[in-house]
């Protein structure tokens, strides 16, 4: 029964997301459409944390690095090579993926605390480097550019200047990304990821190459973060080194865990909750970040498995069965050190 409910909920979600530009402008022209666009983009960064922590049990605190590479890949390709929207997006993904290959080869040799710390260290190195390489990156001020059209042929021209077009472009690419991840995670590779998360020693004994599995997940997570960065660069029409700071990684980790790691769509809801909350409170209270921090602490205290955990517990209660879902964090928390 819960599977059917989930499927129905997914349809409702898809319909709601498709209808966003039709209804939200009634409240405040364009503003909320842009907020939802932003949520979709940031949810990809949270998903990249989730891929590592929720599926192979490695807690990364440095995904902002690949986000930043995605941003600069797109921005530099557009400004220097005159790349279009698609070329820029691709350049962002490629830049982030290459960085993830280099960092991953070293980082996935470590686990748990050591892994968390080395990912921060790598991101800090490039953050400081990008900050001081002002001629290339613009440093703190960033690099502004004008967004090329998304599609310009047969007399039809789609540009990101139109909020609704921008929303559908981002929605399409985000949905495509989630779809691909869904396929990957239910493939034999995805099962191997989970085996590594649950118990890396047993996984090794049944012939899984644990190192390669973790590296694959790391590179995949880098590519997803790169897509998020490229989209965010086009969304804001600029790239800035400040997005590579560890605070951005931290926020993504928080969104993923608040949403519920180990579930594909959990991070989307975590991101949505915290960003919508932030937007609502920031209109009435200058020090809204205090409330965001408090909400974060409260969610973790009262729903340690995140929103996804609340949802599946709720469903289980409705159908009169006890939750039999394994705790996705348990495996990670007990990872051998």
């Amino acid at each position: 029964m819960s599977a059917a409910v989930n499927r129905a909920a997914l349809l409702v979600l898809a319909a709601a997301l498709l209808a966003v530009p039709q209804f939200l402008p009634l409240l405040n022209a364009g503003f909320w459409t842009n907020v939802v666009t932003e949520i979709l983009i940031w949810s990809l960064l949270a998903t990249s944390v989730n891929l590592l922590f929720g599926y192979v049990g490695l807690l990364s605190f440095g995904q902002a690095l690949y986000f930043g590479f995605g941003m600069y890949g797109a921005a530099l390709a557009v400004t220097h090579w005159n790349a279009g929207f698609w070329g820029g997006t691709l350049a962002g993904i490629v830049a982030a993926t290459l960085m993830a290959v280099v960092a991953g080869v070293l980082a996935v040799r470590l686990t748990w605390h050591y892994f968390a710390i080395i990912t921060v260290v790598f991101s800090l190195i490039f953050y400081f480097a990008a900050m001081s390489a002002k001629p290339i990156t613009g440093g703190d001020d960033g690099l502004s550019f004008s967004a090329p059209p998304v599609f310009d042929a047969f007399g039809l021209k789609l540009t990101l200047a139109d909020t609704v077009t921008q929303y559908y472009v981002v929605l399409g690419l985000t949905a495509l990304c989630y779809g691909l991840l869904w396929l990957i995670l239910r493939s034999p590779l995805g099962l191997r990821f989970e085996a590594v998360r649950e118990n890396d020693r047993r996984a090794r004994l049944i012939g899984i190459n644990v190192y390669l599995c973790r590296l694959t997940a790391f590179i995949l997570a880098g590519a997803v973060a790169g897509l998020a960065g490229a989209l965010f660069a086009f969304f804001g029409r600029y790239a800035s080194a400040s997005y590579m700071f560890y605070h951005v990684s931290g926020e993504a980790t928080v969104w993923a865990i608040v949403g519920g790691v180990g579930t594909l769509l959990g991070p989307l809801f975590g991101t949505a909750l915290l960003i919508v909350f932030r937007e609502l409170v920031s209109t009435v209270w200058e020090n809204y970040l205090f409330a965001v921090g408090a909400l974060t602490v409260l969610v973790v205290m009262f729903a340690p498995r995140g929103l996804a955990g609340l949802w599946s517990d709720g469903l289980a209660k409705l159908s009169g069965r006890s939750a039999s879902q394994p705790d996705p964090q348990a495996g990670a928390a007990e990872a051998p050190r």
Binding site: F53, L59, F61, L106, R109, L110, H113, Y114, A116, I117, I118, V120, V121, F122, L124, I125, F128, A129, M131, S132, Y246, H247, G250, E251, T253, V254, I257, V258, E286, N287, Y288, L289, F290, V292, G293, A294, L295, T296, V297, V300, M301, P304, Q329, A330, A332, A333
Partner: protein, 286 residues
Amino acid sequence: MTDVVFALAINGLVWGLIIALIALGLSIIFGLLDIINVAHGDLFMLGTVGGLVIATATGSFWVAIVLVPIIAFALGLALERFVIRPTIRQAALTIVTTFGLSMMLQEGVRATYGPQPRRMAPPIGGTVPLFGIDYDIYRLFAAIFAALALAAFFVFLNRTKLGTRIRAVRHDPETATALGIPVARVCGITFALGTAMAALGGVIAAPITTVEFRTGVDILPFCFMAVVIGGLGNLQGTVAAAVLLAVMEGLVTSFANPTIARIVSLAIMSGVLLFRPHGLFAGATR
């Protein structure tokens, strides 16, 4: 030129001893409770702000240096009880709770104390000739005070009953419970002690740094570097690494810009993590 290099090296040493105090607080929390405390830098920030506020209110820096650690200790006890303990079973969650805590501390200070950075006049003015250069007396005092606080902490840890209990719980919490040690209370006290050390570092550092709600963000990576390079759980290693790193950054700063210095120490840290994951001083006493 040698004067500049020397002055920067001494500055590094002074700063390193203060950082060592803060990083040691991080290290005992990490070693005992197994949590990565992302809010630790903000506890330091709270110390600098509290120091400035109390010193201005009472007119004496010395009142602040006594009061701030005591207040921080009480705050630490409360934080551990109400925020850390409910999530202690899942180490990953504590990163999220401390991250939320960090946002609350920063924003709380910004809302009450204000967003503008301020400077604090050192309580002891003047300079003293030191190997051919005129050196700030307060900085020397700060270094000596930090060193004394570090020494006092190690004496406390190795010579008192409570210190012995803390070491016992670090070593093996289950056996400690079986021997009748109140493990939960020891954990609470340890967290509070770590908080107090960060805040004490903050008060000492207040006259030689800017006082604002963001200072914790810059100090946190440096403390983590000291903890990791010294070896996770190796307390003496943390102190040695903090001093080494700060002196090295001071020296590199004399011929390159501070950002390059920071990149160099981060690169060293990656090397240590990858090739000597138990720290530079592995094999030293735990």
